[in-house]
Symmetry: C2
Subunit: 415 residues, 2 copies
Amino acid sequence: MTHPWHPIEGGVTAPEGFLAAGITAGLKASGKPDLSLLLAPPGAVCAGTFTTSVVRAACVDLCAQRLVASGGHARAVLTNSGQANACTGERGLADSLTATRELAGRLGLEPEDVLICSTGVIGVPIPMDTLLAGFGPLVAALNSDQAAGDAAARAILTTDLIDKQIALEADLGGRRVRIGGMAKGSGMIHPDMGPPQATMLGYLSCDAGVPAELWQAMVNRAVDRAFNAITVDGDTSTNDTYLAFAAGQPLSPEHLDALEAGLTAVSQHLARAIARDGEGATCLIEVQVEGAATEVDARAIARTICGSSLVKCAVHGRDPNWGRILAAAGRSGVAFDPGAVALWLGDHQLMAAGQPLGFDRPAASTYIRDRAAAAYLQDDTVLIRLGVGTGPGQGRAWGCDLSDQYIHINADYTT
Amino acid sequence: MTHPWHPIEGGVTAPEGFLAAGITAGLKASGKPDLSLLLAPPGAVCAGTFTTSVVRAACVDLCAQRLVASGGHARAVLTNSGQANACTGERGLADSLTATRELAGRLGLEPEDVLICSTGVIGVPIPMDTLLAGFGPLVAALNSDQAAGDAAARAILTTDLIDKQIALEADLGGRRVRIGGMAKGSGMIHPDMGPPQATMLGYLSCDAGVPAELWQAMVNRAVDRAFNAITVDGDTSTNDTYLAFAAGQPLSPEHLDALEAGLTAVSQHLARAIARDGEGATCLIEVQVEGAATEVDARAIARTICGSSLVKCAVHGRDPNWGRILAAAGRSGVAFDPGAVALWLGDHQLMAAGQPLGFDRPAASTYIRDRAAAAYLQDDTVLIRLGVGTGPGQGRAWGCDLSDQYIHINADYTT
C-alpha cells in the first residue's frame, strides 16, 4: 500500500493536544504499572469497537452505551490492568460507574465523557480503594510528552513482554497530521469486534477532525483488517476494546482516503505487535491468501491457518509440515478448489495447481527444498502464502507459534 | 440414559459374522502395526460420515462415492496408518483405487465393496509396493476372535497411546444383539462430519439388520452426539471417517430406539476415549451444558469450552481459573443471558444467577473453596457444568488438557 505516512517517534501523545499518564497504583501484586489514562482535546470524536462475546465486562457495556448516547464523542479513557472486572456480577457495573464519576470530577469533565477499560483476571473485582487512591497521582502525571505516552503504554500491559506503540505523520495538502496508537495483548487473543458493541486493548489518537459517523466507519474497516485478523490462542476475550479518538481542525474530504490508510497502518502495526508478543511466542506468523472470491473469504482462510494449533506447533518446531496448512484452510468454512491450490513458505514453493512439488524429484532435491524451507523458518517472521484460485480476494492475518512457554504461562496464571 | 445394553469383552469382532485383522506391513518407520482390515458379512449395510473439510483425502472421496452409489452397502474397509494420502494430487486417488481393487480380488469381492481409510502425515503418498505386499498376510490373518479385533484396533493407531475398543450386548425381544467399535485419534481432532461426505477414524459393527437409510440417519445422530462433540486441538482433519456396518437378521421396529441408544453409547465411548488419549493429554474434560434453547446450542457452548486453549491450560495446571470458562461460553456464537449463568467444577459451585460466589465471604472460605476445586481437578476426569438459563436444551462435549507434551509431539512430528 502506498500512502503518505512515515513513522515518527512516540505513541498516543504524538498527535497535537493529547495527554497521557501511566502510574503504579498497586493493583498488581507484581508492583508493575497498572493505571493508565488518555485525555483527548475538547470536541474529540471517539469510535469504539468492542468484543462481540455474549459474556462481556460491565466496563465494555458502559463504553458502548456512552458512545451511542453521545453520538460518538468522549474525552478520556481510564485503563486498569490486573483485574478484568468481568463476571463480577452487579458489582462490576457499580465499580465502573464509580471509577468514571470520580475521575471525571478530577478532570473537570462529566462522567459520560469518561470511558473505562479493564484487563486482567476474569471474575476478580477491582480493589476500589486502591484504584481511587491512584487517581490523584494519575491526573498529576498527565503530560503531552513522549515519556507520558510511554508510561501510559506500559501501564495497560498484563502478560505482555513489551509495550506496543506507534506514531505516523503525513503532510496532507500542506497540513501536518499525526496518528498515534498503543495496545496490549497477549493472551485470550482472538478479537472479534463489532461496531458499538476485543482482552486486547487498543487506543488511537489523531489530530485531524473527522465527523463521528464517518470516523466510526473508517475505524470499523481498519479493525477488520487489523485486530480482527489476528489470533494468539483462539479465545475471544470478555474485554476486547479499541477506542480511536480524533480531534482537531476538520480534514478536507479529498484527504480522507489517505487518513484511512494511516489509520489502517497504525491499527495493523499494533495488531501485528500483539500477535508477535503473544504469550510464549518466539516468532510472528503472517499468512497471505490470494485468489479467493472476496477479501473476507481470503482473511477467513488466513486467520484459520494462523489459529491452527498444529501449524503453530510445526512453526515452533521449525518443521515444514505443510500438510497442516492445507488442512487448516480446508476447515475454514470457505469454499475453494483444492485442485487450484498453490503454497509457499517464504520464497519456497511447496505446491502448485493442487499438486505437491517434489514427489517426482530425486530425494536429494526434496531434501534440499525441505532444508531450505526449514532454514527459512528460522526467521523472526514466518510468511505463509496460499493461492486458492483466480478470484480477486486477497487477505492477510497474523499469529504466532505455540510453545511450552504458553502452557507454563497459562497453567499457572492465577495461582 | 437407561438402556438395555451392557459391556462385554472385545471390539469389532464381537458381533456375529464380523472378521478383522491387523498386521505390520512396514508402512511406519517405527515398525508398529500399520495395516488393518474389517470384513462385514454378506448383505451388510454401511453408513458413513466424513470430514466436511474442503481439503479432504482421495480415500475419503472414494468411500463417500461408493456408499452413495451402492445405496449404503459395503463389505470391507482397509486402513493404512503412517501416511494420510491427503494433498497427494492425482496420485492419491489412483493409489486408493489400486489398493481397493487388489484387496477386493483377494477377498473375492468387487472393488466397489471395499472402502479405504488412511491416516498419518499429510502430503505423503502411500508406499504402494509395501502396501500391496501386505495384503497376503493381512487377509490370511482375518479372524472372528477377540485377538483379531485387538490387532485391527492397534493397526489403525498413529500418535495414540492406547487402542480404543468397546463391545456392548443387549437382549432385544429375546434376541441377543451386539455392537462393537474401534477408533483412533489423537491429534488434528475436531471432527466435523457430515453424512456421505472425520483424522479420527472410527468403525462400528452390529449384528442386527437395519435398512440402509434408517441406519444412516441413526448414525448421523449418534455422530453429532459423540465424535462431533469432541475436540483435542481444534483442527478438523482431511481424513476423518466413521463407518458403521450392520448385518444380520432384520430388527423389529419396536427395538430401533434401543438399538440407537446402543449405537450412541458405543460412539460416545469411542469419542471419549479419543479425547482422553488426545496428544499430550493428562486428563479428560467433560463439559455439560444445560438450560440452553436447544441441544445443538448446548453442545456448541460445551464444545467451545472444551476447545479453549486457556481452559485447557488452566485444567492442566489444576488451576480453578473459572473466568476462562465463561469467556469461552461467551464466544460460542450462542446467545444466552449472562445474568442466568450457574457454574460448577465437579460438585463445587462457583457461580449462581450470574454472580460469582465467594466475594462476600471471608478470604479463608474462598481459599478453601478454591483448594477444594483445585483438589477436584486432580481427578482423571474434570467435570465442568454450566447452566445458561431455563431452556430445555442439554448437551455434552469432551476434550482434554493442553500440556507441554502436545507441543513436543507436534513440533517434531515429521522431522
